[in-house]
Point group: C2
Chain length 128, copies 2
């Protein structure tokens, strides 16, 4: 899962650089430090994106409340927009502002393919 | 050397977060990818810093031209200021804009303690 997540992160980094107008950088990872850090930070000099990145094998993905909280804390301090990037097997990428994630019955943020296809932004919408 | 460099990076990340107004993130490292990436990106929502970070055991440090070029390319695309952070043994941190680095006789950017004490900015000056 870890290597698949890293692969998805690298793919998104390349998609951003390939636009020719965006710079993007992968985080060293939050494992080694208690400090908040998104998986990816990107900017075109106008809009700054802090991105938490997920590769999903299953139909549905739940997010850790602390993970989302740290993403928002980092983003607010840095001056970035907080985004969650989700890659579904065979369905590609969908992008969410934190407030557009779903909420499970136990209060955990989540996303499934149905919500992604209804509420998720495309890569082109993300970078426009 | 690598672990000492990482230790210096982590120290600087903590110094930035400890201000209470700056967010900072370490790069996953440029070793795994040909894409430009500084060691650290930091912002307080007003000023964005892309920082190449060095721990110096010797009196003098030379910089790789490609390393500096990639720092500038990343910074220009991202909309960040390009900085080089240098930590000398027992002398602490000094911060340079790229244009304030020294130039060796063979055209390589460099910094020594004398230049650092004359031209280097302090951490307080960096974040003000």
């Amino acid at each position: 899962m870890k290597s698949k997540g890293s692969r998805a992160e690298r793919e998104l980094i390349h998609m951003l650089w390939d636009t020719g107008t965006w710079a993007a950088m992968r985080s060293a990872g939050s494992g080694s430090t208690p400090l908040p850090s998104p998986d990816i930070i990107a900017s075109n000099g106008k809009k700054i994106l802090a991105i938490e990145c997920k590769s999903i094998q299953d139909y549905k993905k739940y997010f850790d409340a602390e993970e989302i909280g740290q993403l928002v804390h980092f983003s607010n301090t840095f001056g970035a927009q907080a985004w969650v990037a989700v890659k579904f097997n065979h369905k590609g990428w969908f992008f969410f502002r934190v407030e557009n994630l779903g909420m499970s019955s136990n209060g955990t943020a989540c996303v499934d393919l149905e919500l992604a296809q209804k509420e998720g932004k495309t890569f082109e919408e993300l970078i426009q």
